[in-house]
Symmetry: C2
Subunit: 114 residues, 2 copies
């Protein structure tokens, strides 16, 4: 937000604006939506967010992690396995996603949309 920036939002004065900076970043809503069903690996997220580049996915996940909305767990195996999961704080975003889905569903007119 050019202000549509990925900087921490703790300086925002309006809670709606602060939230918009989070949820408004491309892919974030989708990512949180995916994570709502449980822990996911990098490659799983890469597939469910068709079109996202690893660069962007990585950035977004690190940012969510830095905000305390997601935890990253790395398992010392070969091949490496890393899982991302919502924190309790991150789960606080789910009602928003829920409302977004409800609205989007109406908005699209139920034309076979997810």
């Amino acid at each position: 937000m050019s202000t549509r920036t990925m900087n921490p939002v703790h300086d925002a004065t309006c809670s709606v604006a602060a939230c918009a900076e989070i949820i408004g970043a491309k892919w974030t809503a989708l990512l949180v939506h995916d994570l709502s069903e449980g822990a996911r690996r990098f490659s799983e997220l890469e597939h469910s967010c068709r079109g996202i580049s690893p660069r962007t996915l990585s950035e977004r996940l690190r940012w969510l992690e830095s905000e305390g909305l997601v935890v990253r767990t790395s398992y010392p195996e070969a091949p490496p396995r890393v899982e991302y999961e919502l924190t309790v704080k991150g789960e606080g975003l789910l009602p928003i996603i829920g409302e977004m889905r409800r609205f989007g569903h109406e908005f699209l007119g139920c034309c076979g949309s997810i």
Copy 2:
């Protein structure tokens, strides 16, 4: 969204994604939030969205109008008066804004935020 584009979203296949395209556009959430309290004039919105340029405000309002989320009413007076108001469809966004505020409020930690 460069998909983060302001094109109509009727081609989106996911309702969450479709909604993200609307609510994710800069200023939109704030605008809808302002309009939730009643009709507003261009200059009123310009003031409540501190920092928005007339160019952007105009574009955003026209876009919301084209999506059927806002109605524009022009009163043939001098000086000109124009009011913007949420449609019923546009009011469907309010629960999302409400949840955003709730989350943002928690997230910011109640430090005097709106």
